[in-house]
């Protein structure tokens, strides 16, 4: 493992060093899945055709390794010129340390707002400067197997009461009501975001991810308690902790589970013949609170402070911001473009967009809104609660100790 990392670092450093000599643009990307990787390459090729004097190199690193390596790239004197990253806290924590280059002036329309919805500016900025170029975003929702719902004659649940009723019916039919691939603990992060914001409201949820509310608070206990209750009633699929997110998804594709709280990318892994029988609905209303929040993780790009070729990097950023470049990336992948001039790619995305526009507030995702360590421990806690709901209080007490330490800095 370490050797692999070392080789990757060596290659990247060597690549960056080489770039220093000529007009080369080095992009480090985490888009390692086949579809996004190829689509991004097309965007790069189009930029290359417009700028023949710049030689563009894309270094692709697997997602998890990328997250581990990024801090060392940003602090390196041989930093890449452009890197992929996430909007929100995860970007801001780098900006706070002075490791990013502001990109206020690169927007082709003259300002951030000329290209993107105003709501995106907050998660893309720190202290009044824009550091992040949003590219695509997607939504999280409750995905479900339409065939299972049709077979059992179920309709879409709008409230928690209706949700519990259909869970019971599904369970009685010998099908797991809720799929979750808890081996990838981030799948529990969606439950944290949606349950806590549904029960306590978006503002309270933001306070929690900022570390301002104890995890032992009665409000948090209540929302985690709902998750524990679903587990006590046996609504989560058995052996969830042994399934990766894709494995759990295929359980739902096969009709052995009915619902899965997941990001839009679940469609990427659905086989062609079941794609059309998978649909989504909005997370149900809890405790009569009709205002809701949605997870809308936004992916994009930043320029490291130590980038060698900032001029080319900014040119590339300006191109990435255009409707043309955003459409070229988002349309084939069925994601929503950040640029507001890009048309919605399909009917699915239109419904996703409507759901987001109807929301009172948007979240990036637990592990993007909170420090990674806090999110990792929080997601572990939810997995523990699902596995062992009786331990709720013990788990939350331990989690809050971590909160106190992590936010103390």
């Amino acid at each position: 493992m370490k050797k692999v990392l070392a080789v990757i670092v060596a290659c990247v450093v060597a690549g960056a060093a080489f770039a220093a000599g000529s007009n080369e643009l080095v992009i480090n990307s985490y888009m390692s899945d086949q579809a996004p990787k190829e689509t991004f390459q097309k965007v790069v090729d189009a930029f290359q055709a417009k700028n023949p004097d710049i030689k563009v190199t894309v270094n692709t690193t697997a997602h998890e390794q990328f997250k581990t390596l990024l801090p060392s790239w940003l602090t390196s004197k041989q930093a890449p010129d452009v890197v992929t990253w996430f909007a929100g806290y995860r970007m801001q924590s780098f900006a706070e340390k002075g490791m990013l280059e502001p990109i206020n002036e690169v927007f082709p329309g003259g300002s951030f707002e000329a290209e993107f919805p105003g709501a995106f500016k907050g998660p893309s900025s720190y202290n009044g400067n824009v550091y992040f170029m949003p590219q695509s975003w997607y939504w999280w929702a409750v995905y479900y197997n339409k065939n299972v719902f049709a077979k059992l004659g179920l309709s879409i649940p709008k409230t928690s009461e209706e949700f519990l009723v259909i869970c019971e019916k599904i369970k009685a039919a010998g099908i797991a009501p809720i799929a979750i691939g808890a081996k990838d603990t981030w799948t529990a992060g969606g439950w944290f975001d949606y349950m806590n914001s549904a029960v306590n409201g978006g503002d309270a949820h933001v306070k929690l991810t900022k570390g301002e509310v104890p995890y032992t608070d009665a409000s948090v206990k209540k929302s985690f308690g709902y998750i524990a209750e679903l587990s006590k009633r046996g609504y989560f699929m058995p052996n969830a902790a042994s399934y990766s997110w894709q494995e759990a998804a295929s359980v739902m594709f096969r009709g052995e589970a009915a619902m899965y709280l997941m990001g839009q990318f679940i469609k990427d892994v659905a086989p062609a013949d079941v794609k059309d029988s998978i649909d989504f609905f909005k997370f149900p209303v809890f405790e009569g609170r009709t205002e809701y929040s949605v997870d809308t993780p936004t992916d994009g790009f930043m320029i490291p402070k130590n980038a060698k070729n900032k001029e080319a990097a900014k040119k590339f950023m300006a191109y990435l911001a255009t409707a043309e470049a955003q459409e070229a990336f988002c349309k084939p992948l069925g994601r929503l473009a950040a640029n507001k001039k890009v048309a919605v790619p399909n009917a699915d995305a239109k419904r996703g967009l409507d759901m987001v526009l109807g929301a009172k507030s948007a979240m990036q995702f637990y592990d993007r809104d909170a420090p990674e360590e806090m999110a990792a421990k929080g997601m572990n806690a939810i997995v523990d609660i699902i596995a062992n709901p009786a331990q709720l209080d013990t788990v939350l007490t331990a989690l809050d100790k971590e909160r106190v330490r992590i936010y103390a800095k």
Binding site: M1, T185, E373, A376
Partner: protein
């Protein structure tokens, strides 16, 4: 003049490897020691010393206690099982009979696979719903014995240790097979003529002659158990708090959470424990060398 040259020449040859060893091995050890006394962001964003703060946190950290206890489990099983089992298999293969070579090779196969491959395969075997282990148990009518091997806190570490042991046994076997080649035939025959039974020959001739091989096998198993990481990382996604060992906890603290100071502190503890065993081993080897 010649004397001086004789003394200098080896050092001239050693200079480059020694310098590399100093820079890439010895220096980082001391750097880790230094980092372990600093605040989380130290390596990346400027140094801030906090004394023994990280070590105080270690003492109070329940997750660290779990990792330490798990390493102890690894150690006990890594010494307790592969040594006698490896010796037994080696004794079995030390005789000539048809197919001995084939069996030897088959036993050695796990050693040729990387931990990543082994971990992936065993993660499938352990899968509660479609894995081989639970499937076999169900076929035998032992539904009650099926477990969520890698998802249930209680079985995780043992399930992982088993895989490690499975790979360690052939390693120890090879060490003992080599050792057995050094046991002089005449010595065993002499004991036979003196009327020693098989058990007596084994106990009083073979075992003592195998002492050097045993020292190597035990030391290597101890060190391997302390640096257990690959299997834990591959099979549990490193998010398995219950199966965490020192190396994996060090990795996630330093590289996932960017808490380099704390990660270094864990590394220092791991180093200290391993170092104690290495000193004992080197001490033992040197003593034997000097006796000869």
């Amino acid at each position: 003049m010649t004397l001086k040259k004789d003394k200098l020449l080896p050092w001239a040859f050693l200079a480059l490897p020694l310098a590399m060893y100093l820079i890439w091995v010895i220096l980082p050890v001391f750097q880790s020691l230094l980092f372990s006394l600093t605040h989380r962001d130290t390596i990346m964003y400027g140094r801030k010393f906090i004394g023994l703060g990280n070590f105080v946190r270690l003492v109070q950290d329940p997750q660290f206690h779990i990792a330490l206890a798990n390493n102890l489990v690894w150690l006990v099983f890594f010494v307790g099982i592969p040594i006698p089992l490896g010796l037994g298999i080696a004794m079995l293969f030390n005789q000539e009979y048809p197919g001995a070579r084939l069996y030897k090779t088959l036993f050695y196969v796990p050693m040729t696979l990387s931990f990543a491959v082994i971990g992936t395969i065993w993660a499938w075997i352990y899968h509660p719903d479609f894995g081989a282990l639970n499937t076999v148990l169900r076929l035998l009518g032992l539904e009650g014995a099926t477990r969520q091997w890698l998802g249930d806190k209680r079985y995780m570490t043992l399930a992982l240790v088993f895989v490690g042991v499975w790979r360690q046994v052939p390693y120890v076997m090879i060490l003992y097979l080599a050792g057995l080649k050094n046991v002089p035939e005449e010595l065993v025959e002499a004991a036979m003529i003196d009327g020693a039974s098989w058990g007596q020959r084994f106990r009083h001739v073979v075992i003592p002659m195998l002492a050097p091989a045993t020292v190597v096998a035990v030391t290597i198993s101890v060190i391997d158990s302390l640096r257990a990481f690959d299997i834990v990382y591959v099979m549990t996604n490193t998010k398995a708090r219950a199966a965490e060992v020192l190396a994996s906890y060090m990795y996630s603290s330093a590289f996932h959470y960017q808490d380099y100071g704390y990660g270094s502190a864990i590394a220092v503890v791991q180093f200290a424990i391993t170092f104690a065993f290495i000193v004992a081993y080197v001490n033992n080897t040197l003593k034997n060398e000097l006796q000869r």
